[in-house]
Symmetry: C2
Subunit: 402 residues, 2 copies
């Protein structure tokens, strides 16, 4: 089928990332080069903006401003958590048709791929020629078909830097420090804390991912062992750690009430506090602290992995380029070539193949005891995250006691 001529619509979905605007701007700039694409609409807050016909004209943006947006964290068009119903999808398709949208791009994770897939089915059923593309984005790094996903590298860099700083802090004022990292089902971000290590005995000393059942008793024993050896212990733990029955530790053990007797706290720091409490109760360690990194992991300005930013831009460009190639749809996946050198390539994959299900940290990346990552993970993650700060330490020649 020949290239369709008409308008383009692009939108962003799900949690923000440091580089999702690179994909957006990459797609816009590429689309401006394509004669088949007439107008370029941006929907505010994903499918919510399509349903409400809340669109902006992206051809009215200067290149200089587009570049500023590209370098800004979070979703410049606004995002949405809404998963559309079948009715929503039918209505979305009607709006797209009303605006003569022949090129539809949705930037997001597996749910966004699912949405693009369903809308694509509507277009096919109505014999309305429209290219539907999903552009990958998730700091969780859990999209199938992909070696890694845009957004992960920069969030992982934040986590590695944060744990590195925390480890320096913990050297200065020793004790046990627990850092709770994002990722309810996939532990990639928590695993990335391992990149903070540069010298022997650098933290994190223990790493717990949601891919392995978490045992409080084993956790306390692990911490006690590290603390006995080093006099301190830095721990990275995923917010999603769960027990043998897949019940999240956070929901299982914690009961919070405020002074009015209401159990209504969001519990943002609850898991860290629970784990800290266990250590205090069951060991002789007195200085135990916990931090939960929170939204900073996905939106801290200036914390960019250059490789990640470049790849995020590229998947946006490639999606538009692929959409020019006739009657095809899909998602742009990042694949890695085997070998020592970091080399990737991009491949169009069916929308369905990245929709719904997600992937987890592979077994080969987690150590046997389930309290650390392996060298294979470090090798996998390092080139995606890029350069990290190199802390200095005193050589520390001891002065003989006077």
């Amino acid at each position: 089928m020949a290239t369709a001529s008409g308008n383009m619509l692009i939108a962003q979905s799900g949690g923000p990332s440091m580089v999702i605007n690179q994909s957006l701007v990459g797609a816009i700039l590429e689309a401006k080069q394509q004669k088949s694409i007439k107008r370029i609409f941006g929907a505010r807050h994903g499918i919510k903006g399509i349903l409400a016909k809340d669109l902006i004209d992206l051809k009215k943006e200067t290149v200089a401003n587009l570049e500023r947006v590209a370098n800004t964290p979070a979703s410049a068009l606004g995002s949405v958590r809404k998963k559309p119903t079948a009715d929503d999808c039918a209505q979305i398709f009607d709006v797209l048709r009303a605006y003569d949208v022949r090129y539809f791009f949705y930037i997001g994770g597996n749910d966004s791929a699912e949405t693009a897939h369903i809308i694509n089915e509507h277009a096919r059923a109505a014999s309305f020629e429209m290219r539907c593309f999903h552009i990958p984005k998730t700091i969780d790094n859990d999209l199938r078909e992909n070696d890694h996903t845009p957004g992960f590298g920069s969030a992982a860099k934040f986590v590695a830097c944060a744990v590195m700083g925390d480890d320096l802090d913990n050297r200065a004022l020793p004790g046990v420090k627990i850092d709770v990292v994002m990722g309810r089902h996939a532990g990639f971000l928590t695993a990335a804390s391992a990149l903070a290590r540069q010298n022997e005995n650098d933290g994190p000393h223990l790493i717990y991912l949601p891919e392995r059942p978490f045992s409080l008793d084993q956790f306390v024993a692990d911490v006690d062992r590290v603390y006995t050896k080093l006099g301190r212990c830095v721990i990275a733990v995923s917010e999603g750690i769960s027990d043998e029955e897949h019940v999240p530790i956070a929901s299982k053990f914690i009961k919070e009430v405020d002074a009015h007797g209401n159990v209504q706290l969001s519990g943002s720091g609850a898991l860290g506090d629970l784990l800290a409490g266990e250590i205090k109760a069951k060991t002789k360690i007195s200085r135990v602290r916990a931090d939960t990194f929170g939204y900073l992991q996905r939106s801290f300005p200036g914390m960019i992995s250059e490789v990640d930013a470049k790849e995020a831009r590229e998947v946006g460009i490639r999606a538009v380029k692929q959409s020019m190639k006739g009657d095809i749809d899909g998602s742009i996946a990042i694949r890695r070539k085997p070998g020592e050198k970091y080399q990737i390539y991009y491949e169009r994959v069916p929308l369905r193949s990245v929709a719904r299900d997600t992937r987890e940290v592979p077994k080969s990346h987690i150590n046997k005891a389930g309290n650390d990552v392996t060298a294979a993970f470090i090798k996998y993650a390092r080139p995606i995250v890029g350069n990290l700060p190199l802390p200095g330490h005193f050589k520390g020649v001891k002065v003989p006691v006077a």
Copy 2:
């Protein structure tokens, strides 16, 4: 009195900062230039290391390594929270005398100045000629005599960047977001969140400092008003906010228990969760989240205010230079010249004048309603914090509804 000849000892105390090692390295490099200073000892973990005679030889460190240490966050010699007893001080003095220490430098906040003062008194009483200098450091910015303190600018930059990113995140996925910032008694760091604002309606939309009594009812009313107007609300709140009777809100309203019935949680996220719970219970707003920034504020690598790093280096250098000027002791204070242009100068002040008591955010820096800072604060803080990222936003020309 002539310049004494002998050894030097330097140590670090209190919470780490991003630039405390600049002060340390500034003092070491300056001391290496001084003929009166023979050996340069670094005590591990402040006075704890002096008492234990746990010293390292800082003349054995290469300049290249010293510079790497200077650019590393947290306290490279190790720190301590210990406030010495009278007996400790007598013992510390004995150790200093045993090592022929004629130049003693203690980097830290008001408690460290107090320690230096007491040790100085011991030396005087024993007619042991020793220069005692305090080198200022505190991210809380609460030392008397100082316009601002080394460590504050960089921590303030972290807070401003974090809230800026969070505001972008909140634009993308609207709701109420509460960010809890360090500073139990002084609100300078929380106030610095205001530097994140660059355009109208940028967050933080509300700022609460410990200097003003905090009312939960007023807080909920404030949030509701902002949310009604903007459809979202970003709030920076100091961990130390207290009621009319100076009782911290965190300790007053929160009661946490784990599944075993133990009330032993450290509650790192408790204040944020309490405030979020209040908004959910008393307004119709459903999406309410809270983050507590935690230790990242004082130890995140690479997050440096250049002005802060330069001044931190300078107070270390100046302390050593001053100690060469005969029988004087003191602390190096940073003063600001009046006028539009940011100009500072350094002044030696008595140890006693920065010890014990601290200072708070001045009244002129807090708005009448007690829920924001004034333009005077912005003018005060901006040059200390330095340049911040400039987020890009779409001009956003609306597409007419089809």
